[in-house]
Symmetry: C2
Subunit: 220 residues, 2 copies
């Protein structure tokens, strides 16, 4: 358990990079943090497993560099996120996988990078824009986009709603519309959407009986 | 406002019957209460508007006869409900309208006829059986049955769940299955079902934003 706080998913990197990341976590001032942040983002945008957890390593480096009065890593991270956000539609057109990774990453950053224990205001609209995009009719036809959408809502839906309830309402209007009016959703997509609708209706909690329906019946 | 407690929907009856009912409300011992209870039930089983409110007039007569130490009305009411309940499948086969009226009436009786301020235990299973019947695939294809089902759940769902939560879970498993797996539901049936799912998930309350979705958009 000794190294549990260092236990990030960095096994996917080559050994030199792993060493670089480990140093960045401990003594960020001694490495090229712009390079480090790009390495993390490059990996996030192609590796869905990594993108689901990258926020935590970013948060640790941001904290570590702040202690040394630095902000290179953080600035580079946010600048590049902004660039990638602007190009999101091109990314989606080029590769659904990359797009889904991008959304997962920006939501994970929203989840982990707090300022005074609050989510970063600058990320609220971009995150909503991404989720609204996933709730458009063409995206609801792709199971991987629906899967990504509901995963993010499970994780950060409640926080997002607190930051901007009207936009969350708007998002759920889209989801109900898609669910009720749209032809051709897969049955898995419909199951995921119904669950998230019940989840939010229950105050971002699933009742135990609903949980049983959505999760235990798979075992039947 | 003087007669507000006497303000029952008895205009559908002929004048003699109205007089009989008014007397039954004030001095039940002076009239034939078996006849009165049959009149109320006969009307309930053919008149959907009346069946939605008949529980209240029954409750008042039951209270009035109890003050006079009588129970003819109440006994006849419950006996006939039991008979009609046994024949429910035949009723449904003969006339959907009568079947829907019967369910509405028995649920209304469940809602109004309290013992020590609690619903009557004897009615819990019959009411659940009726609602489970409405949640079967063939019934979900009929908008009037879906409409009846969600109306009852709006009115007595919370009380029913308190009396028997596992049966309510079972009912909602059926509703989700129907909703997710069944082909050919009308879009109105789907809207009604989704609303009731959100309604229960919210603890038998609809959030204001969900309310806006299900009710205000009609005005758009």
């Amino acid at each position: 358990m000794e190294n549990s706080s260092d236990d990030y998913r960095i096994q996917a990197f080559d050994l030199d990079t792993q060493m670089l990341l480990k140093t960045a976590l401990k003594d960020p001032g001694s490495v090229n943090l712009e390079k480090v942040s790009n390495i993390i983002m490059d990996q996030s945008f192609k590796d869905q497993v990594f993108s689901k957890e990258a926020g935590r390593i970013c948060y640790t480096i941001v904290q570590a560099e702040a202690k040394q009065n630095g902000s290179v890593f953080r600035r580079n991270l946010l600048n590049r996120l902004q660039l990638e956000f602007k190009e999101r539609e091109e990314t989606r057109g080029r590769s659904l996988q990359e797009w889904v990774c991008f959304v997962t990453f920006i939501c994970n950053i929203f989840d982990y990078l707090k300022v005074n224990n609050m989510p970063m205001v600058a990320l609220v609209h971009p995150v909503f824009d991404c989720l609204m995009r996933l709730a458009q009719p063409d995206a609801l036809m792709n199971e991987e986009e629906v899967d990504c959408l509901v995963l993010q809502l499970h994780r950060i839906g409640e926080q997002l709603e607190k930051m901007n309830a009207p936009r969350m309402d708007e998002l759920f209007f889209l989801l109900r519309d898609g669910f009720l009016l749209q032809e051709g959703l897969t049955s898995m997509a419909r199951l995921l959407l119904l669950e998230i609708l019940e989840f939010r209706a229950g105050g971002w909690l699933l009742s135990s009986t609903a949980h049983k329906y959505y999760y235990s019946e798979i075992a039947d």
